[in-house]
Subunit: 651 residues, 2 copies
């Protein structure tokens, strides 16, 4: 995708706070050139007794997207969003694992509000305007009729209500599409992350109570059955104390951790360790961390202050020595969000931390700070890890968000929304009540940034008793076919800030038909994915203007609405593109070579394939521009140790 | 019930705000004598950049109740409560139609925090305490196991986090039981309300689209079928514009309002008009109110500022002239809560009002201010009206809370919780999916402060098509039997602040068995009500120590747990009490005389029956002390124009 030169401007209103996401990130200020077309004289700002308030007009037909990982809402026009980080959003309120004070509109701009406070965004609320008579004669007989009245055909206000702060920096980003606007925001954040190659393979998280022997048995299962798997994740049971965390091996379950690591590595697995941030008193880092921690506990454990260098150093050095230097390159950073709806755990918003943050600011930033801390420990090693909370400017972190929630529709909406805010999200698969549900869920997860099966509470892979092994294996193989393509999409994220997963409205921002579509997404530049939900057998798919090809059958489709009734997941290839599908491998290493079946659609296209070591940051990224053209077959050439061509097909 | 002398103390921390509930209420400061036993040196206070924070220790076995109309939670120890007013709470978060910053504990005290901010209460959170090793070896395999860890056997903190304010007044109330503590708070609030006698009868709200003729037909239906009914309520359809409100009759539906009022009054009905507070531009009060309104609209209508005298006067004078002087003495004050979970309507928290309130403060107080405004219009007329939001210190207002939610268990929990906070609540009955559900719901509503059937979205009384008329009529008659008893309970509320509906833990505060009971309640001093939920046929009932009598069968029960499997609602009469049950009347007027069947239980007891005009505030309350004693029958004597004795029975 070609991206225009970024247009971005910083506007300082009042006196911004000392503690904001920008201050704790490594942003690229050079991108803020100040040349936006947005009329900044329309911005109203005031300081109040409670904090400060910004008002910016919204046109009647202006739609609003973003605000981080919103699982319950999509087009936010006419609604209120309270950006409160928590693990368990239940409604379209703004509550999120990863709320981000950044939104984009269909009028070609996005606004990032640099605050770590729980800001409220009223997306189109009307000011008192001394009206002439406007009668509302409607008499509703359902609550739905009553309360769906918040949209008008008038100019209304985006009202941004920031508690405590006496000022704030706004950043306005502009672009010809939402994809461009977000790419600008992501580049400002420091660019998208570049995951390890193995991070894009299949990922299985084991039952939390597995012993060392059972873990190895599970690892052997994949190899013996030729089912692709790159990562094995260990859940809380690996630790001696997990709520709160000791970060010590439980020797009852795992008598010889070094040998476990060695055996898994020998079987070509990368290992991912579950943990959270709350430090148990039995942990070796409890005492050194104590004075760099907050004044409240969680689960009788410390809340380390990663806003202090000392807190980061103690935590990251411990992880480097005890895990990373021993070959563990993946982590699952759990519980860093907090709860409002499930048991109300975590530290109060009024907690105090040595860095000067309060609990509110810490809740907004701890996801990012925790990722930074683990990345420091990882050093030169790339990863694709997991985290349960993230905040603003998170694009550079190679961590994927996940959730304990499980509504399939919400999980898909999470994918669609994640690309508005520099976030990655996986609709991870845990259990399923039926074979059909399991397959539907796995279909969606393989078309996501991270293909996780999370068996933490089931003692056997979920497909075994359901006799779905062949189907699941087939889907895992599809994932492995897609790895070179996804790797290229991530490289584009890394270099240009273009999110690998995007809503349709993101690329097709002037197509009004896309404004309500929260269940289809673009996966890289060439694929449109429209998952069928668990429990359903068909769905309507909207294809934007142009020609599309069914990924499975190569059947041609025109833009418009199509009913897809199918056992597979509806996936469409954009006209004039080239798709490099790999022969599935069981796992990936530095020396892995992909045998590509090149598929050229329409009059062909271009993709940049990346050859690097796949493992570290100090690698050299060799770009192979793969071009396919129906009329000139000989153009598909590739001379790479990573890739070779198996076949070329034209559609 | 005998109440001890109140013990109460005011503690000023920092510099309290100018706008708080106490400043907009008519509190009884004489009650605050300062003689509490609570060790106030344990209270820690600090001002922060966000507002201010109070910490007060909680003992390991100290349980916490209150915080207003909490539909989703009961014993709040170990949880966080964010007191945000809204119409649509979905979980145990503190969200409520009527959040109140007042809590009571089982250690004999209650704390009222005088703030109109959305305060957060962390009911028992642990401070960082430099621990010795405490390992947590448990490895959970369900999210429930994971997150139910917030209770410890240690002293933890009640942390009260108040945004924006730089100080606050705390009021500590003490008593031997929670009932006494709350009575002190209610007396401080100005005492409980004294409703009109007719307010305790049956109340039917008509289909919103009924015409004048259909309303009269519905009114005739009750009289023709000898079904008791005192009040007819009209829903939005009576107004020409209802979202927002014109407060003008819709002449298409109601061509002759004066005649409608007259016809209903002739049939001995009191009338209740639905409205909300947002003023449509076609309303006669739109222009005069405009400058006494907030800077944001709701549904294109004004948000009047009842923090200004002018706003109150314009609104109340209009209501007096147009409704009250014409004979309408009841109102349903809808939509004054706002929404976070259903369409996000209402004005932003950062709205500004001429009185100096912001939207947050207005949201916390508008329910009370709206009630005050309507009470001003009502003048000397008593009522029992409805309101959808209330706040702190609301006991004096004769308005009952209701909700669009409908989960039966939550509705019962609302009853149980309401008595902790000076609130009244009705589990109103709307539709039912079965005859059985309808009956279960009506069983509960007749044992509540206000017996409403709200048919706003159904064009026929719900029992008719279900062939449940006889059963429903029978239940309505039970309600009418109870009126003298309920009236006495309200008089006790009025004089002593003792809530008419109370949790078991309220009277039996040292009985640990009551600490989790959120589905039984005391109704007045002699009845214990344990509703069976819609969809269920039996339940376990806990009876506190002592002897109890089945209200329906007179069977004796001992204290303890009993399984009740019955088509009726389990109701128990406390030993040694006297119950005056009236022969049912169809409606109540100033001259109504109740023929009483007196039931004396155990060795008998005392109740104060009230004779007054039942209608106005300037009445003389004559108290009749009715005493029953098994051994001396002749003691049951009554010489009153309101009451006469039909029979006396001993059990």
């Amino acid at each position: 995708m070609v991206i225009q030169m970024q247009r971005a401007k910083k506007i300082t209103l009042g006196t911004p706070e000392a503690i904001t996401p920008v201050k704790f990130s490594n942003v690229n200020n050079n991108l803020i050139q100040g040349d936006v077309t947005y009329d900044t004289s329309l911005i109203r700002f005031k300081v109040t007794a409670s904090g400060c308030v910004i008002e910016m007009p919204l046109d009647p037909d202006e739609e609003v997207f973003g605000f981080g990982l919103q699982l319950k809402g999509f087009d936010h026009r006419g609604t209120k969003k309270y950006l409160r980080p928590n693990a368990d959003p239940v409604a379209n309120t703004g509550d999120s694992h990863a709320p981000v004070p950044f939104y984009v509109t269909t009028k070609g701009y996005g606004v990032y509000v640099d605050t770590a406070r729980y800001a409220s965004f009223y997306c189109g609320f009307g000011k008192n305007k001394n009206r002439e008579n406007i009668r509302n004669k409607a008499v509703a007989v359902t609550p739905e009729e009553l309360y769906e009245k918040n949209k008008t055909d008038e100019i209304t206000q985006m009202v941004i209500d920031i508690p405590a702060a006496k000022g704030v920096d706004l950043y306005i980003f502009e672009g010809d599409s939402i994809t461009e606007i977000v790419a600008g925001y992501n580049q400002f954040s420091g660019g998208g992350c570049m995951p390890s190659l193995w991070g894009l393979g299949m990922f299985y998280r084991c039952y939390t109570r597995y012993t060392q022997e059972e873990i190895i048995k599970m690892a052997d299962y994949f190899r013996e059955n030729d089912i692709p798997c790159d990562m094995i994740g260990l859940e809380p049971g690996w630790q001696e104390s997990s709520y709160s965390c000791s970060y010590l091996w439980d020797k009852d379950r795992i008598p010889d951790p070094d040998s476990l690591i060695k055996e898994l590595r020998n079987r070509h697995y990368n290992i991912n360790l579950w943990e959270h941030v709350f430090v148990n008193s039995t942990s070796p880092i409890y005492r050194p961390l104590n004075k760099y921690s907050g004044d409240f506990e969680v689960w009788q454990g410390l809340v380390p202050d990663f806003g202090t260098k000392e807190g980061v150093d103690i935590f990251s050095e411990y992880h480097k020595t005890n895990f990373i230097d021993k070959g563990i390159l993946g982590f699952k950073l759990d519980e860093c969000d907090g709860s409002d709806y499930t048991g109300s755990w975590s530290y109060p918003n009024c907690s105090e931390f040595p860095s000067g943050m309060n609990g509110e600011q810490m809740h907004s930033m701890i996801g990012n700070l925790y990722q930074q801390t683990i990345l420091k420990a990882l050093g030169n090693n790339r990863t694709l890890s997991e985290v349960r909370s993230a905040g603003a400017l998170a694009a550079p972190y190679p961590f994927v968000l996940y959730s304990d929630l499980y509504e399939h529709k919400d999980f898909i909406r999470g994918l669609v929304n994640s690309g508005f805010s520099g976030l990655l999200w996986t609709p991870e698969v845990r259990h399923a009540d039926s074979k059909e549900e399991l397959i539907r869920r796995v279909q969606a997860v393989i078309f996501s940034p991270q293909a996780i099966i999370n068996g933490w509470y089931i003692d056997k892979a979920p497909w075994i008793d359901m006799r779905a092994t062949n189907e699941i294996k087939g889907l895992f193989e599809v994932r492995m076919q897609l790895v070179p393509y996804i790797y290229s999409a991530f490289y584009q994220y890394y270099k240009k800030g273009i999110a690998p997963v995007r809503a349709l409205v993101s690329d097709y921002s002037s197509d009004q038909n896309t404004y309500k579509i929260d269940d289809e997404y673009l996966f890289g530049d060439s694929l449109l994915v429209a998952p069928i939900l668990a429990g359903e057998t068909k769905r309507t798919v909207y294809l934007p203007k142009g020609k599309w090809y069914d990924f499975w059958t190569n059947q041609k489709y025109k833009g418009g609405y199509h009913i897809m009734e199918t056992d597979t997941i509806p996936v469409f290839v954009k006209d004039n593109s080239i798709l490099p599908l790999a022969q599935p491998v069981m796992y990936m290493e530095e020396g892995t070579q992909f045998k590509l079946d090149i598929k050229v659609y329409g009059s062909g296209g271009t993709i940049i394939l990346i050859e690097d070591n796949g493992m570290t940051y100090d690698t050299n990224y060799k770009e192979y521009i793969l071009t396919g053209n129906k009329d000139e077959d000989e153009q598909v050439i590739l001379d790479s140790s990573r890739y070779c061509i198996n076949s070329v097909q034209y559609f």
